[in-house]
Subunit: 463 residues, 2 copies
């Protein structure tokens, strides 16, 4: 009972300061309810919306949070913590409430993604994990949704595992990109763990290990006739395409159909047109062209604009690390403690106080029109509330949506986001406003803090 | 015996094509020795050297590689693989040889980092994991070494866990940055797993949960007098510094010394100078200033050039995701199969053939002067060979260096890299040449392949 269900979700996967702060709260008998709000402060370049993902990992972590004997022995060995605090940690469980955007939601800067309300030690300790989990999957789902948008209906497959930032990222990229509309992944473990369809082609090493390219093609086609994708650029795309034609004709003679050829280098528009012509000239109009090699939303849009005849894309590294925006300015901030709204005033980093709700308005055609961030207790007539209760008393409330359901939810929501907000470059900002109640409270709390903290030494007025 | 020692090192953490290609090799009775070479094709912007890291994870993975019953059941459920291939996978172990650069080595583009020689199915299956593991840690160690260089002797601590791309990355960033000279990490689990020193400060939420900032400082100082770092920017840096002075004086009265104050926002040069003056004016010359907030090598160099009085840096997100170069153009390519050197010819992506060794020359003062990439069988008199045998017959050969030993090795090597190659912007390229034997073989193999593969359809001459 003392072990976590998974060694990966260790309670020690946190920053040391979470534990030293917790020890201070414990020392001061500070056990009142704290509410922390997770939000993204600003858009990275060219982003204009976000796709929420990662919540299922967070609720699993919260529901099973505990310090093992081993964890406590390590903390004891640091000499930093008193025994009665370690005893307290041994019994610690997450007992709080969580409100959150469902996975697959479209959201915007400053809007709460997750709000955690719990005794302050619990709510504080989980900060590091919650930011890490939501940040990665939301970043990848957002990047992947842009690739889906650029591909205009052509299927995309995640090929990023070898270049993701570690093993956990490899799994989460497969999951988040599938959530955002990818057809599947090359990652076999992700296929097993998440039930995502898996896809594959062949490597250059496979081709070069045979005496001739066409031998490699023939062996693959005989072993995997229903999923064959022949990589044709190992020596030269055009001679590779001709070898693929020969093998496709041999497959036809056996009553089989070659599925794909794959391009991986060179001028994609020109080569794909020539390969398409070679295939069509031999009556192989059904053989599709898959392209790989440094694709992201920008390169997909560019090659299609250049007239590429590509039917599907394998998307790897640049999506898998969100290369043009490899991190978000995401924060988990205390907004209410012991029934008082709180904030910090640090330069350029003001936080919206108190428990909140996000309300959305749609136009007559059902398209997303605008959002309002409000205090949770405010009545906002006519809008649709976006944050939903997902945990209470430390337990998950109700059945969690499956990954497929999250994927469908994303697709339904994304269809309602107007095109002007989705374009890859210089998108129109989506309108988000603050409610009257939040605006008023925000301004009142700033004034109170300035009086209290800065009035003391006489350097500042009270506005 | 059928289970991996760690659920994290699953044999299924690979691309589907590794398994379909393996099934083809199996079908063709292709079990000859293949050698694959792992290398980085080119430098990202502003990089001029790399720091090798991640090898210990690779050898652990290779030594324990096996498919569990569960893995095989999943593969069986896909309907793709014949039973006799799954039976073969059940007994599969890594039986090959590995030569590699020791962790902490300085190396350059095109130089082999790892060369794996094994029956082709084994050597192929492990591609995805090896690239993933070496790529992440090498990327982070390289980025971290640049921060160490910029800090010119000031200690650095890794604070990146919340923004790393997943949990595994959080651990590996702590490890790789420590290897490259960081003093420690905020990541408690990394402290436990790798024996890395752990450090922490306090969060804005901690301050805002108390009625007054100074109360929060006092409680922390009483609970953690030996490691107190007071975060002073929650409301205003200057009033925060004055509160810290008061608490430091109270600590002095108890015979204690405040260790650090921490700046996290604003104009770091100006604020650090003013805070330094406030501390010094109160006889607190021993209290050091730690700075955090979007630091990487560029910002560290800039604030120090601007005259910042900062004694230590907490380095987070930008190092933790290698933000200006979040992936490497790293590849694991077949260079020899069944006693024949092989390569692909795809546009712009030529691979150096055959088993290799890298030789290094030092000048009279012991500084690194130039490298030569050679065939492994070539005699290169006068140079120092860099790749070392680390596995044979699937077992680790000899004791593995500890993380501390790798860290010391890095520091010794980095000291021998001349300054001109280390500068952050527009560094001088380090000279790397190919040996006569490799040059000759490379050119001969290109000609053979063109004759064999492209001569067949008459499109190409044979040079």
């Amino acid at each position: 009972m003392d072990q976590r269900p998974s060694g990966e979700l260790s309670a020690l996967l946190t920053d040391l300061y979470q534990l030293t702060m917790a020890a201070c709260y414990f020392d001061q008998d500070m056990h009142a309810e704290a509410t922390f709000s997770l939000f993204i402060r600003q858009y990275p370049a060219q982003r204009n919306y976000f796709v929420a993902a990662g919540l299922s990992e967070v609720v699993e972590y919260l529901e099973t949070l505990r310090f093992t004997e081993d964890d406590l022995a390590y903390l004891g060995s640091t000499g930093l913590f008193p025994g009665r605090f370690l005893d307290f940690l041994q019994g610690l469980r997450f007992t709080g409430k969580v409100q959150a955007l469902p996975e697959g939601s479209i959201f915007f800067a400053d809007e709460p993604i997750v709000e955690v309300s719990a005794p302050i030690i619990e709510a504080q300790l989980v900060e590091t994990f919650i930011i890490n989990a939501i940040s990665l999957q939301t970043m990848i789902a957002t990047k992947a949704s842009r690739s889906v948008q650029a591909a205009a209906g052509r299927p995309l497959v995640d090929f990023s595992l070898r270049r993701t930032q570690g093993r956990d990222a490899g799994l989460k990229v497969a999951r988040a990109s599938y959530l955002a509309g990818f057809l599947g992944t090359s990652n076999v473990l992700a296929g097993k763990l998440y039930g995502i369809p898996i896809f594959g082609t062949m490597a250059h090493s496979y081709i070069t290990s045979f005496p001739h390219e066409i031998d490699a093609f023939r062996v693959f086609a005989r072993n995997f006739p229903t999923i064959a994708t022949l990589l044709i650029d190992t020596y030269d795309n055009i001679s590779g395409a001709r070898h693929a034609v020969t093998v496709a004709q041999e497959m036809e003679a056996r009553g089989q159909r070659l599925d794909f050829v794959r391009l991986d280098s060179g001028d994609m528009a020109a080569i794909s047109q020539e390969v398409r012509r070679i295939l069509d000239d031999h009556g192989l109009g059904y053989v599709r062209i898959l392209a790989s090699g440094n694709f992201d939303e920008y390169k997909i849009a560019r090659v299609l604009a250049d007239g590429a005849r590509i039917d599907a894309f394998a998307v790897g590294t640049k999506m898998g690390v969100s290369a043009d925006a490899p991190y978000f300015d995401i924060a988990y901030k205390l907004v209410r403690y012991a029934d008082q709204p709180v904030m910090k005033l640090s330069t350029g980093k003001v936080t919206l106080v108190d428990k909140k709700q996000v309300w959305r308005w749609f136009d007559a055609q059902g398209a997303m029109a605008r959002d309002t961030i409000a205090l949770r207790r405010e009545a906002i007539p006519g809008g649709t509330p976006l944050l939903q209760p997902v945990m209470a008393n430390g337990r998950i409330t109700g059945p969690r949506p499956t990954l497929s359901e999250c994927r469908e939810y994303f697709q339904a929501q994304f269809a309602r986001l107007p095109e002007a907000h989705k374009v890859l470059k210089d998108p129109t900002p989506y309108p988000v406003s603050l409610s009257p109640g939040l605006t008023e409270l925000q301004s009142r709390v700033v004034q109170q803090i300035r009086r209290r903290e800065l009035g003391e030494n006489g350097n500042y007025g009270t506005d």
